[in-house]
């Protein structure tokens, strides 16, 4: 199982965690919502897999390209 880090596509604030560590998710499922420019920008699963860790929590500020979750 390869481990992959998901990164934030945008600078903003973590709005909501849509899944919790341990969850098995389909490709395209939303892991986190980042609030930026008054929009809810999703961080989606690039492929089906298991969410192993969230590297940020709701309310955290994140910058573009920052790792926000780990999947395998």
């Amino acid at each position: 199982m390869s481990v992959e880090k998901l990164t934030s596509p945008v600078t903003g604030v973590v709005w909501k965690a849509m899944a919790q560590p341990g969850a098995t998710l389909e490709e395209g499922a939303t892991v986190l919502l980042i609030e930026s420019m008054k929009m809810e920008i999703p961080v989606d699963m690039p492929r089906a897999g298991r969410l192993t860790e969230l590297l940020v929590k709701e309310g955290d500020t994140v910058s573009e390209g920052q790792p926000v979750a780990e999947i395998e």
Binding site: M39, E40, S63
Partner: protein, 519 residues
């Protein structure tokens, strides 16, 4: 009957075809790479290559003046065709001294580029060169002031389509030949493009950095944008350049070719009517909208990973080649970032130079804000993009799908244009909202005291915002003819396919280079 020995011409041509020799070519193939000649053969229409300067190189001679051996130049150059349309191709041969300019015979590649310019045909560069070598000094016995007097590097950017593929590490002049193009592509995990490689960086700055970190595809196509697209392998790179050229005219003096389309120009995709979520905080998938509107399978994206809050496609409407821009709210909320502004400027110039009518599907929240954006000088990049739009004479239409706010929101198309007669032809979907100031932040600022004094400040603020949202209905703007029409999203394709038929009628009167090249 005895056979005549091979003529001198045959011997020299055979040496040219052998390139770096059997061993060097075998080693090259073992790395999974194509030789310069194989790349050309894969790229062009069969049997269309007319090579020039095949026997340029270095001969070595016996004391009596007879030829002992011949080493060809490591630049393979000539005229060829794709889709039966002519072009010039100039390819570095890495199997000979690493493609170094030391043995390329500079006159040859420059001649190839000048010929493309003079004969008004696209230029295709296959760059695979280690760059210059200090040993060149030993050959010439002197140093030279950098530069190439006869190279029309800038002028041709306004005259002919210039494309490039980075096949390996491209340094210095090699890098310039890659980036000085309307469309560039680099092969993933194989090509790097930089001003100077790791050894020079180590010496100059003391930094240890890998080739891939310094000029790999992630940096070039996602961070700096110096190269447009990445290719999975060499054949993919060759195919992408063919595809790019299929939308463009042979030169600025000609029109882009129209293809026969089997897609009904009046096709209505009802999915479009629900493409924009009612909740204004929810983004949508930009590509799906572009696909619904354009001829099926006609989208070719340029710079997909750079400045991706703006998507730029070459596309077709009823077979006519167009440029299509659409804001992507999934990336930076769709804001006009520094990168997106640079991308917009280059794309508008490309379309204007080569007579590709422009369609802009707008969901623009504004110029990117915040410390990083201000430090990057985003406003200057936005102003330059705005200038590119205003200087464009190519026919232009915009459709506002959702937001159009602030300075970036005003940049939907030329307001007056260079001749002072541009229409700023624009339509909107019923989901559109616009203004100089977004309502949420605007209400909080203008009614600060009143909101603070209210018994329930939050409820009062929401009430005020709702009131202003009703005022901001696009239909009120349409009453005053502030927009040509509000249309059902599913009608967009039919509208644009009719528009493009009118637009292309203007193009013959706009042929030739436009008044600017690179801004």
């Amino acid at each position: 009957m005895t056979k005549n020995p091979p003529s001198e011409l045959e011997l020299r041509r055979a040496a040219a075809r052998a390139m770096g020799g059997e061993e060097a070519v075998a080693k090259w193939h073992a790395k999974g790479r194509l030789t310069a000649r194989e790349r050309i053969a894969t790229f062009l229409d069969p049997d269309s290559f007319q090579e020039f300067g095949m026997i340029a190189g270095k001969g070595s001679y016996a004391a009596d003046g007879t030829l002992k051996s011949f080493t060809p130049s490591n630049c393979v150059m000539g005229r060829g065709e794709t889709e039966k349309r002519p072009l010039m191709v100039v390819a570095d041969d890495f199997t000979l001294r690493g493609g170094s300019s030391e043995s390329s015979v500079a006159e040859k590649w420059i001649y190839g580029e000048r010929m493309a310019h003079e004969f008004r045909m696209p230029l295709v560069r296959f760059v695979d060169s280690v760059g210059g070598s200090v040993k060149i000094l030993e050959q010439s016995g002197r140093t030279k002031i950098p530069g190439y007097t006869l190279w029309p590097g800038t002028a041709m950017m306004g005259a002919i389509p210039v494309t490039s593929i980075a096949f390996g590490a491209c340094v210095g002049l090699g890098a310039v030949r890659v980036i000085g193009a309307h469309f560039s592509v680099m092969v993933k995990d194989q090509a790097q493009v930089f001003a100077a490689g790791p050894p020079v960086v180590k010496q100059g700055l003391g930094h240890d950095v890998s080739k891939e970190d310094l000029g790999g595809y992630e940096l070039c196509t996602q961070v700096s944008g110096v190269v447009n697209n990445v290719a999975e392998d060499e054949k993919d790179a060759l195919q992408q350049v063919r595809r790019f050229l299929s939308y463009l005219p042979t030169s600025a003096w000609e029109l882009p070719p129209r293809l026969t389309s089997t897609d009904d120009p009046r096709r209505r995709d009802l999915k479009l009517n629900d493409a924009i979520p009612a909740d204004r905080r929810k983004p949508f998938k930009a590509r799906g909208i572009a696909e619904s509107i354009c001829d099926q399978g006609s989208l070719f994206e340029i710079s997909p990973k750079f400045g991706a809050s703006l998507r730029t496609y070459l596309a077709r409407l009823d077979g006519y080649a167009v440029g299509l821009m659409i804001n992507d709210p999934m990336v930076m909320g769709g804001a006009l970032t520094h990168a997106a502004a640079q991308k917009m400027e280059r794309f508008v110039d490309l379309c204007d130079s080569f007579h590709l009518p422009l369609v802009y599907l707008v969901d623009q929240p504004g110029v990117m804000i915040g410390l990083e954006a201000e430090r990057a000088g985003t406003l200057v990049a936005a102003a330059k993009a705005g200038a590119a739009i205003e200087q464009a004479t190519v026919p232009w239409v915009s459709v506002i799908m959702r937001r159009a706010f602030g300075v970036a929101g005003s940049m939907q198309g030329p307001w007056n244009g260079p001749s002072g007669t541009s229409l700023n032809h624009k339509f909107a979907w019923p989901t559109a909202r616009w203004g100089s100031i977004p309502i949420e932040g605007g209400v909080a600022a203008a009614y600060k005291r009143e909101i603070e004094a209210a018994p329930d400040p939050d409820a009062h603020r929401v009430e005020l915002e709702q009131y202003y949202h009703r005022l901001a209905s696009p239909f009120r703007t349409a009453e005053a003819f502030g927009v040509v029409d509000i249309i059902e999203p599913a009608e967009t394709r039919a509208l644009l396919c009719r528009w493009v038929r009118d637009a292309v009628r203007l193009l013959p009167s706009q042929l030739g280079p436009k008044r600017r090249t690179l801004r």
